[in-house]
């Protein structure tokens, strides 16, 4: 019988992590090879030093050759028996340990793949076979590249994960791989959403001999996310017909009875506001539901777009002095979506500088990137909340006297849009002084 992969994985020197003092595996094997040799050396020295004298005493000073031979045989027999007992004990220990490691991997609810330095999968657990819907787990013991092709490992946007970006390959290179999301196509043709992590397995010398990947099936959570987004999208959509009716009747009444114009204008303004919120919700949820599908890419100038968006927004912020300066920055991008990012950032700058004052926007082109920046002199973001501002539904000023409303979707949506354009988004903020937000998108090819 060929040794199973786990026996290989459990063989000494291959996976022995340095066990902590409290590890039960350590306690099971109290005799290290060094200790055994030292004990054996002590015993043998005692024997050599004392046995001849004992013999002399027994044989009255004239030890016969027969007695000497018998003494030698007894020595060999005793040491052989000791060695046999020790080796047997060690082996039992290793076998138990291998079985325990196997049972540990086996008991994990998440799929586990163990990959060696030749990028071959050398061990998997039953959960992996179930996740990938294969009949036998031995089917999965194959080169990682073939595995990736067979199960079409890809990012959420559908692009294949290149072999050098596989979690286990990165782990073998010594990297500790943070969880990332991916999709595989199981053997039954169904797509499974995964959260993938991997860590290197180091031998006592510090070398990395194996990597362990853990694949967690997050399809259910993902479906829930999609359901939520679909619900929000439908709900937002359904709001629009009543909004249309209210707004149109308000307009109609205003025309027929100009005396009530003041109240009717307020109704229309509030309908517009509600509509913007609903639109915002729709935008964000649609962006998610559309997944990685590309928007409509076209070539345009980021500076000109920023100028256009800001011109349009000036009217709604009479208390602010919004300036924009820009250089030519041609980009190849989804114009509508980039306009939404700018709108959202300008809207934040206005909302969070309630005292009014200057808001300056700038568009630059440098190092192959078009960069939009907007600086306000408003509230700034409290330091302890800065880390979370890109989270969906997170509102840094919620529950404070500076809660100026909003759905907590703008930055989350903006960052997602920018990321899809292979751009970056970042900010600086000092509480009480103001914030500056930036985003970049690559300059269009052929741009200077």
């Amino acid at each position: 019988m060929t040794p199973g992969p786990l026996q290989r994985a459990g063989a000494p020197g291959a996976t022995d992590p340095e066990p902590s003092r409290t590890s039960r595996w350590r306690r099971r094997l109290p005799w290290s090879p060094g200790r055994i040799v030292v004990a054996y050396g002590l015993l043998a020295t005692l024997w050599v030093a004392l046995s001849d004298r004992a013999m002399e005493a027994l044989a009255g000073g004239r030890a016969g050759a027969t007695l000497q031979t018998a003494k030698g045989i007894v020595f060999v027999a005793v040491t052989s028996a000791m060695l046999y007992a020790l080796i047997g004990r060690h082996e039992r220990g290793l076998r138990t340990r291998g079985a325990e490691i196997r049972a540990t991997i086996e008991s994990m609810a998440d799929a586990v793949l163990v990959v060696d330095t030749h990028a071959r999968i050398v061990e998997v657990n039953q959960a992996a076979a179930e996740l990938l819907r294969v009949g036998s787990r031995t089917e999965l013991l194959q080169p990682l590249a073939e595995w990736g092709q067979r199960f079409q490992l890809r990012y959420l946007d559908g692009s294949p994960v290149p072999l050098e970006r596989f979690a286990t390959i990165r782990a073998l290179a010594g990297e500790r791989v943070p969880a990332y999301d991916a999709i595989v196509r199981a053997a039954d043709g169904r797509d499974v959403f995964l959260s993938v992590t991997a860590s290197p397995v180091r031998v006592p010398g510090g070398r990395t001999e194996l990597a362990v990947a853990v694949l967690r099936d997050v399809s259910a959570a993902r479906r829930l996310d999609e359901l939520r987004d679909e619900f929000l999208s439908t709900a937002a959509h359904e709001f629009k017909t009543p909004l249309a009716v209210i707004k149109a009747y308000a307009q109609l009444l205003q025309k027929r009875d100009p005396a009530e114009a003041e109240a009717l204008v307020v109704i229309q303004r509030q309908v517009d506001r509600l509509n913007r919120l609903v639109q915002h919700l729709l935008d964000t949820t649609r962006l998610r539901l559309d997944g990685g599908r590309d928007g409509q890419l076209q070539r345009f100038d980021l500076g000109a777009l920023a100028d256009e968006v800001i011109q349009r927004m000036r009217a709604s912020a009479p208390g602010h002095d919004i300036t924009v300066s820009w250089v030519a920055a041609p980009v190849h991008a989804d114009r509508d979506r980039i306009a939404r990012v700018i709108t959202s950032l300008v809207d934040n700058a206005i909302r969070f500088s309630p005292a009014g004052g200057p808001v300056s926007a700038q568009v630059d082109a440098r190092d192959g990137e078009a960069i939009f920046s907007i600086e306000d002199h408003g509230l700034g973001i409290p330091a302890e909340r800065q880390a979370r501002i890109f989270e969906r539904f997170y509102r840094a000023h919620a529950g404070t006297p500076h809660d100026y409303g909003g759905l907590g979707l703008g930055l989350d949506m903006s960052r997602e849009i920018v990321a899809r354009h292979r751009g970056r988004m970042w900010f600086e903020s000092t509480p009480g002084t103001g914030s500056t937000f930036h985003f970049s998108v690559p300059l269009a090819e052929g741009a200077l």
Binding site: K240, L243, A244, V245, Y249, V271
Partner: protein, 125 residues
Amino acid sequence: MTARSVLVVEDDPDLLALLEMILQDAGHRVRTAPEGGAALARVAEEMPGTILLDMRMPGMNGWDFAREFRDRYGHACPIVVVTAAENARARAEEIGAEGWLSKPFEIEDVLATVARHLASAPSAG
């Protein structure tokens, strides 16, 4: 010769009544249908000069109505999509409609759009 009518296809009775009222106020002859099937029946009785078409409706929805209409009558009459979709223009292009109105709309926009399409409608016959 009577002016060509505007056919409003909309499932929300309040919105339907409102569109009917503002179009009539502007001097148009208006006919209505609550969904696509009824709208096809109206078209069979008389070819309108412009169709205002809601997309999400019970019964025959806007997509199916547009397809059916094109199959039977080609571009005999312009279709204006009235939609809550975030990109009304894309929705219009999707079904080959001539125009679009986003919900919520401005009354002035409705009147201007209808007037423009009525003027450009191919003559009946």
